[in-house]
Symmetry: C2
Subunit: 450 residues, 2 copies
């Protein structure tokens, strides 16, 4: 018998499927099996708030590619509703549980890719088991929230956590006509932004009708006689609620790997090198369960984003199929919006820079998205941070109206290139009245730093 | 008598006034005189089509800063309606004509900054002297067109030239309810774009109701008994017209400098070094009348854009006031739109690369501006070009719907940093469904090239 060349992938979402697809493009004959715990493959988790808001007509539209397409068109043996419960690294096999039939079996592998993703953290509170309490993770939970709203017509929603999910769900539930409150323990929303930038987000949310309660600690949820949530109790008040969404962050699904003896690192994500190799030969990891490398802090980080997962998968797939590619690293770019307010960041925040002991200077400017006289010209705030010694850009943040957010890509590109504030100010960026003032707001901020 | 330290500026628009303002910030006491031929200072020429379209309520809104503000707040002696007719480099003086009084006089200078701008080229055709024929240059011509439309209510407009002005004026006159034809000698609109990209612009303009006639040579204009234009005659047809706008490009106003013995270069623009010094000591030039340096072709170029003029002015002003700054160079970035179609370019076009003898590879992709399932997701086309030998980016072009155009800034930044296609593909660009697909279209194009 020839050496077992079979590739087994655990997890059928962005990282796992883009790796499997890449391997298939290079190695037409290789046996590839993917075990996915859920019912769906390659779905757009980031689209769920917009589905719940009623802006997307069918949840199927969030599925980039269905299991049968992978099976029929790419000859990738995708098995949904199959949970992997153990990795036997010595025997090069995994234990699989068919969730439909209850059958358990061993599956051997030649190489293994762990792409188990991340799971939302659940607040550890009395009453979390009430009906009407949801965290968003797999596509099914998004569908569950949508259906719950249709069935129970909740009037008062409380969102726990003011991060990306919290803000996007606030927009979604407001769009569904609910009275929306958002509670966070921290003194600001969007912990990845600096407090001065985050305060504009809070102000805007308040103006648009979200009740934002900061620095409140959750104590418990209350339920009514039918077992449905009826209130969220904090250390300061009781908020009536018939729908609760939690969004307090995610953690990597690295338990399976850790139990099998694989090393973990940043935030307990699976430790990988730049080729996406884990500490055990023949086993790779990619996506939200695995570490990334941060180009500015020069440290491993845990970043659970679709962009990163896709790159992880492509790098892993390239190397698994005999190629040679290194993960290029991240600069920590992220973007979201609340109604018309666009929010984006890249690089380090002030808090992150302080933690790393970097001395920095920052400048924040307020400008317009278009020429002041052009219809639709609106506010944009840009904050840039440079390292004091080198004058190199180390971070940037944007909060502003339509057309603001995507300007973060200029900042992300400049960060990657290691540009100084002076070099950013000197960039030949595009200008016409419908698009920008003569000096782009990013350059105005850079100019302030020069 | 101490040495004459007086700074005299010829031209009160972007370059001249930003230089004068910079000098004033550094040298509080220096005497600064600005002679401006027109009535206005620092006006946004790029805004004229939108004023003519009726989207801006008053032409004053296009004036960034009025002469009296410069005089009163910055102590800059701005004299409008004063035309400079001669530079006496030996005597360090200029001849000035007060257009209001007819008075002529000599003004001495310690240092002289020439910022005379550029003028639209006028087609040399019989009938160009008809009423109702306009080129856009100074603010007054924009006001003249606006007033002419109000007074004469033209029904059929012909635009001569399919460049930036032509396209923007087609949008404007369509918005004013006119029947609009656009004629160009070339086989494509937007000569700065490659033909394959330009064809999508033509298609879109046709769909929106502009009659586009390419590869037609103009023969003459006809006028009616009142002296107003009545038709545009080409080698193929006669187009009825009661309003004609010409937009066949601009040429630098370098005659005054050339007559004084200053060297000129690219497209007859005034030759300057990176500090904006001309060939004559003590004389500087900045803005549309002066050369720029192109970072990709590594050659002097003539680029008449507000962004460049502002940078020229800042560099000249810094050096004139004793500082030390070099013009950083351009990469040829430009942006415009026709109705909802956004058009942008940076770096070299195929034609420019061929002329420079650069071997290149290009890739063009069609993608979506947002996630496919997100409302408002629309078409975007991105073309990237890399030098074959180095794989470095040398140019990029974008044509697409809302949210497309400003992505050129990522390309401009990558061009400036000298990135390869692989490095662009690896960038950590922002993604969320309302803003982008998981792989930004710019990265999809880069990936095609890898």
């Amino acid at each position: 018998m020839s050496q077992n060349n079979k590739l087994v992938v655990i997890g059928g979402d962005a990282a796992g499927m883009s790796a499997a697809s890449k391997v298939r493009r290079i190695q037409k004959e290789r046996e590839i099996i993917v075990f996915e715990r859920g019912r769906h493959t390659s779905f757009a988790a980031c689209g769920m708030p917009y589905y719940i808001a009623g802006q997307i007509d069918h949840p199927d539209r969030l599925i980039a590619r269905k299991p049968e397409v992978f099976r029929n068109k790419q000859n990738i043996d995708v098995r949904t509703r199959h949970e992997v419960t153990r990795i036997d690294t010595g025997g090069k096999r995994i234990r699989v549980n068919n969730l439909e039939t209850g059958e358990e079996f061993w599956e051997s592998y030649g190489e293994l890719l762990i792409a188990t993703g991340a799971s939302p953290m659940k607040p550890d509170l009395p009453g979390m088991d009430a009906d009407g309490v949801f965290g968003l993770s797999i596509l099914q939970t998004g569908i569950d929230v949508y259906n719950d709203i249709g069935e129970h017509k909740p009037k008062k929603a409380v969102i726990i956590g003011g991060g990306y999910i919290g803000i996007e769900m606030a927009e979604a539930l407001l769009a569904r006509g609910m009275d929306v409150s958002l509670v966070d323990m921290a003194p600001q929303v969007m912990a990845t932004m600096d407090p001065d930038m985050a305060s504009h987000i809070t102000d805007f949310m308040l103006k648009e009708g979200v009740k934002v309660y900061l620095e409140e600690t959750l104590e418990r949820l209350e339920k009514n006689e039918n077992g449905r949530v009826s209130a969220v109790v904090t250390d300061k008040q009781t908020l009536p609620a018939d729908l609760v969404i939690t969004g307090i962050g995610v953690r990597p699904n690295s338990g399976l790997a850790r139990e099998a003896g694989l090393e973990t690192g940043a935030n307990d994500a699976i430790r990988v090198d730049k080729k996406m190799r884990t500490s055990v030969p023949g086993i790779w990891a990619a996506g939200d369960c695995a570490e990334s490398y941060h180009l500015i802090s020069e440290k491993p980080v845990f970043i659970a984003l679709g962009t990163v997962a896709n790159k992880h998968g492509l790098v892993a797939g390239t190397n698994i199929s005999g190629g040679d590619k290194e993960f290029p690293g991240v600069v920590g770019t992220a973007i979201t919006k609340f109604n018309n307010l666009e929010i984006a960041r890249s690089g380090l925040s002030e808090k992150e820079a302080e933690r790393l002991g970097i001395h920095f200077k920052s400048a924040t400017i307020e400008a317009r998205t278009r020429s002041g006289y052009y219809p639709g010209s609106a506010e944009i705030r840009v904050k840039l941070m440079v390292e004091e010694a080198t004058r190199r850009l180390i971070g940037g943040q944007i909060v502003g109206m339509q057309g603001s957010g995507k300007r973060i890509d200029t900042i992300a590109t400049a960060l990657t290139a290691g540009m100084t504030a002076s070099q950013i100010m000197d960039l030949d960026l595009s200008y016409a009245p419908p698009f920008s003032p003569v000096w782009d707001p990013v350059q105005i901020a850079a100019r302030q730093l020069v």
